[in-house]
Amino acid sequence: MQNHFPENEAFYKALSKRYGIATVWQILFLSALLLAILSLTALIYNVIDGAFGYIAYEYKNDPSEFTSTPINELTKEELLTILKNNLSTGAYKKLDNEQAMSTRSQADLLNLFLERLIQIDTKQTWSMTESILKGEKIRQETKTNYPEARIEFRSWLTPQFLVSPMSSKAEFAGVRTAVLGSLWLVGIAIAFALPIGTGAAVYLQEYAPKNWLTSIIQTNINNLAGVPSIVYGMLGLAVFVRWLEPFTSGSMFGITDTNGRTILSAGLTMGILVLPLIIINAQEAIKAVPDSLRQASFGVGATRWQTVWHHVLPNALPGILTGSILALSRALGETAPLIVVGASTFISVDPDGPFSKFTALPIQIYQWTTRAQSEFHAIAASGIIVLLVLLLTLNATAILLRNRFKQKY
C-alpha cells in the first residue's frame, strides 16, 4: 500500500494545527461553563445589589408637629403617647386589636409613627453599587432635585422586614404574612403528597406485577413530572377551587366568609404538583435497599407488608426524606399555580388555618417586581434573599441527610 499520510515534518505541522483547533474548542467548552457560573453570580449580585442602597425621602408631616425630641431618641412611652394623641380613635383601636400597643417593641412603634403620622414619601432609591461608587454625586443630585429630602443608606432587608405584615408602603412592608402562607402551603402539600407518594412508590417497587398497567402508571408518573406547573394551577382552579368549593372553602364546616381560593386549595394543588417528584425519588430510595434484606425477611416467614414495613421502609427512609425535602423546595418556589388558584395580592392578616385566604413568598416577590416604583423592587430583592435563604437551608438539610446515611450499604 502506498503511503498517503503526512510523515515527519508534514505530520508535525498537521498535528500542531489539530492541537490548535483542539485548544479553541476546549476554550469554548470552558467559556460556556464560565458563562453559566457568571450568570449565577450576576443573578445573586443583582439581588443583593437591589436590597441595599441609598434612599432619598421627604417627611410629609414635620416631626416637630408631634414632638420636640429628635426621632431617634424617642422612647417607647413617648411614642405611645404620640400615637394615642394623634391617631384617630378607630385606627388606634384597630392596631391595638391586632397586637396590644403596650406590648409592642420600640422599633415597631417607631415604624407606626413614621408610617401613619409623619408619612414618608420616597423620592428615589439607588442600588448598592450606585450608592458605593457614586455616593457624592447622589447626594448632590438629591440636594438639587429634592432640597427638602433626607438621604440615608438603607438596608431593605431588616429584622423588621421579616416580621412586618404586608403594607401598601414599601418602606414598611414585610414578608411575615407571605412566609406564614408559604409554610402553610408547603405543609399541606407535603402532608398530602408524602404518604400518597411513598405508598405509590412502595406499590410500584414492591407489589406491582410487570404488566401493561404498571408500565402505564410509570410512564404516566414520568410524564406528570414534566407537565408545566401552570397546568396544575388550572387543574387546581377547576377541581379544588370550584368543584370542591364546599370542602376547600370550609363552608362544609360552617365557615362562611371565604370562597374556594384558600390555603387548602393551593396546598392541595401544590401537593398534586410535587407528587410525581416524591414518587420518583422514593422509588429510587426503595430500589437502593438491597434484595438480600427482603429475602432475609421472607426467609423468616414475614409477609410482604411486614417486610416492607420493618425492613424496606426504615432503610429507604433517609432517601425518601431527602427526596421530599427537594420536592418541598420546589413547592416553596412555585409561583404560577398559586396565581391561577387565586393567591390574594394584598393581604395583611396572618393565615389562621387551612380555610384562610393566602399569599405566599414568591407571590409577594412577583407582585413587588411588577410594580413600577423602585422601592418595591428593593423589597422584592429582600424577599428573594429570604426565599433563597429558606431554599438553601432546605437543600443543605437534604444534602446533610444524604451524606449522613450514604455509607450504609
Binding site: 500500500m1 502506498q2 503511503n3 499520510f5 503526512p6 505530520f11 498537521a14 498535528l15 489539530r18
Partner: protein, 266 residues
C-alpha cells in the same frame, strides 16, 4: 540507545504503577519486526496493562505512572517531548470486544485516515483496508450501512481494517478473539498471519493454544508475591519450555480448532 533494525520495539526496566501499587515490574523484552509476539499469563498478571503501555493508552487511567523506557526507533515513548497522539498513530490497537464506531462501515475506516490527514483516494483506502482484513467481499455492497449491523467477528475484522487503514508500524491486539466464536477466531488468526507480512503484531491472549498456534514469540507473565506482574520467560514460541505448549495439537481444520479450543481454554 542503539537501534537494531531487527527489533520493532524494546523495553528497558519497564515498570507500571497505579498510585502506590506496582502492577508491572521490570520488564525487559525485545519485540522483533514483522513477527507475532504473544503475551500470555494468568488473569490479573498485567498483560493488558503492559500492552496498553506500548501505545500510551494507560495515560487515560488516573494515577497510572510509568518508569523505565520503551523504545521505538531508538526514541523513548515516554520521553518528555513525545506526543502520545503520534505514538498511537504509529502503534494501532485492536481491543478485546469489537468496538466499531456507531457510524457506517465506510466511515469507520475513513474517519481515522481523515483525522490523520490522509491525502490519497479515500475509496481506494477503504477497499484496500477491508481487503487486507478479509472483509471486503462480505461488506462491499453495504458500505453505507451501520457497522452495528455486522456480526461480532465481522465487527472485529472491521476494527482491524480500521487500524491498518492508518498504516501503523505495530498493531497491538488485546485478546482480539476472546469475545468471538471459534470460527471467527480462526479467521482472525489466519488474518494475523497475513498481516505480519507488513506489520509487527503484539497480541495478548489468555488462551495458550492460541499463542502456540499463532505466535512466533511468546512472553510468559506471572505475578510475584507482591502481586506485581513480570515477564518470566520470553522466547521463540517453538522453543518454549512449557510442556503443554510444545504438545499443542496441530490445527488443520475448523473442527480441530473447535475441539482444541474446548479442551484447552484457560
Amino acid at each position: 540507545m542503539e537501534n537494531n533494525n531487527q527489533y520493532a520495539i524494546e523495553t528497558q526496566a519497564l515498570s507500571i504503577h497505579y498510585g502506590n501499587f506496582t502492577a508491572i515490574k521490570n520488564v525487559n523484552i525485545k519485540v522483533e519486526k514483522q513477527k507475532i509476539t504473544a503475551i500470555i499469563g494468568p488473569s490479573g498478571c498485567g498483560k493488558s496493562t503492559l500492552l496498553r503501555a506500548f501505545n500510551r493508552m494507560n495515560d487515560f487511567v488516573s494515577g497510572c505512572s510509568v518508569t523505565g523506557e520503551i523504545f521505538l526507533h531508538g526514541q523513548n515513548l515516554y520521553g518528555k517531548d513525545v506526543d502520545p497522539v503520534e505514538v498511537r498513530r504509529k502503534i494501532g490497537m485492536v481491543f478485546q470486544k469489537p468496538n466499531p464506531f456507531p457510524k457506517s462501515i465506510y466511515e469507520n475506516i475513513a474517519w481515522g485516515a481523515r483525522i490523520n490527514g490522509f491525502k490519497g483516494k479515500m475509496d481506494e483506502l477503504v477497499e484496500n483496508s477491508l481487503r487486507h482484513a478479509a472483509l471486503w467481499d462480505e461488506v462491499k455492497d453495504k458500505l453505507q450501512e451501520s457497522a452495528y449491523a455486522l456480526s461480532g467477528g465481522q465487527q472485529q475484522r472491521l476494527c482491524i481494517a480500521r487500524t491498518i487503514a492508518i498504516q501503523p508500524e505495530i498493531i497491538l491486539m488485546d485478546e482480539p478473539a476472546s469475545a468471538l466464536d471459534p470460527i471467527s477466531t480462526l479467521r482472525i488468526e489466519e488474518l494475523m498471519q497475513e498481516l505480519k507480512k507488513n506489520y509487527t503484531i503484539i497480541i495478548v491472549t489468555h488462551n495458550m493454544q492460541q499463542a502456540a498456534r499463532a505466535s512466533d514469540f511468546t512472553a510468559m507473565m506471572m505475578i510475584d508475591d507482591q502481586r506485581a506482574g513480570g515477564v518470566i520467560e520470553f522466547d521463540d514460541t517453538k522453543k518454549y519450555s512449557l510442556a503443554h505448549l510444545i504438545n499443542a495439537p496441530k490445527i488443520t481444520s475448523q473442527a480441530d480448532l473447535v475441539k482444541a479450543d474446548k479442551e484447552h481454554r484457560l
